[in-house]
């Protein structure tokens, strides 16, 4: 487990502290390699590549976009609600979001 913390500090993007989760989504969903995935996300967010891994910039931006952030605050998206917005923001289909939509539609 200590290894994970070390890799995160040495080489990691920062996860939800920055845009690491968003770049990872492009890798898994579209098989984009790192540079392409970073550029895609930065363009969608309207920020620079440097800002993409800056926790100060990204904390503010994640709150503005309501796509989830590390520090909790009342009313801020915390899970599937954030993924609905991420799917729209990155122009992606997210499996859990699609399943959630299906369940809701069935009930109404």
């Amino acid at each position: 487990m200590g290894m994970h913390a070390a890799h995160a500090l040495v080489s990691g993007m920062g996860g939800m502290r920055t845009a690491g989760d968003l770049v990872a989504r492009m890798q898994y969903s579209k098989k984009m390699r790192k540079d392409e995935a970073k550029k895609y996300v930065a363009d969608k967010l309207g920020i620079s590549l440097e800002e993409l891994v800056d926790p100060v910039t990204m904390n503010e931006l994640r709150e503005d976009l309501d796509i989830g952030r590390i520090n909790e605050a009342p009313g801020v998206a915390k899970g599937i609600d954030a993924k609905f917005r991420i799917a729209k923001l990155l122009d992606l289909k997210i499996n859990s979001v699609e399943i959630f939509k299906e369940k809701i539609e069935k009930g109404f």
Binding site: Q27, M32, K34, G68, I99
Partner: protein, 348 residues
Amino acid sequence: MGKFKTRMGDGFMIEMSEAEIRQDLEDGTKDAAERANVDPLSQDDLDFLFDIFASPYRIVGVEPGNECCLSYDSMNTKIQRAQIATSQLQSIQIMERALGADSLELAHIDYSYKPVKPIVTFEKPVMEQAQLLTIPPLLYGAMPNMGLYSQPDGPCPNPADLIPKGKLAEAIESYEAAIEYAVDDMVYVGSEMYESGADGINFDTTGAAGDAEFFATLTAIKKLKKKFPDMAIQMGMAAEFVLGMHGSIEFEGTRLAGLYPHQQLKLAESVGVSVFGPAVNIVTNMTLPWNMARSCTWTKAASDVSSIPIHACLGMGVGGVPLNLTPPIDALSRASKAHVEICNLDGL
């Protein structure tokens, strides 16, 4: 010039001179290049590696701009195995919220597809809940672990018992029977977890039981991608070299025994893998400079020809990280930086 502190492959501390480090770096890359018939590291790469080992700092890190995405094997169980009293869901949230995870993985404590099959109905609601509560991509992961299909743990006669008796045909037959069981389990569990909301499925430590296991995993992935074209697939390997335990098995015309990472990758790409993880085992009685140059050579050869993201396996005993339960930060940070920057990795 004085001596530099570094370690052996098992983690024990040693001191080396500049000449000794440079020699081991050259020997390590030469060994890897010759075995896999790939290019050795360039002189610039070797100089870069030397600078990493010569750094007086306890921790080194990548340059800004070179950061990559982290993925995991058996993510939540690492916390459970550390005897921290948390649930699977809480463990994932700790990784998401406290440890900077770029992606997440749900796993059962017995991290293989075979034991997950009978309890998948208990894993599914955890995945459903986790998908409601977390934000990064969340995969379900386990190992193909084809050894579990051999007697006494499984239904097939044990090839490790048959081969020493000269019963090669029976051993091959047993491997081929085990493939069918393993494929069924991987497709079943993968389908169930994807239908519960998983972003994808992780096949970790692929090929641990050799070429037949690699064949089973490629076959399972092909079936899953046909069923769910949007499913993300991560494939992490067990070793740099596919062991020819079966010996003659081919996947769509390619003999699997003896494939190195750059060749393993091409088969992974062909079945629709999204993220590939080469694994290079550490040699414990050789130095870290030797191991690091060797690992970077094979990993770079795969990354250079890849059309999909490469997340190299850099855990205990693989990717230049000492084979030790508590990898030292000096060694781990050097392995992390070296692989990410020399091999232009997309992730770890």
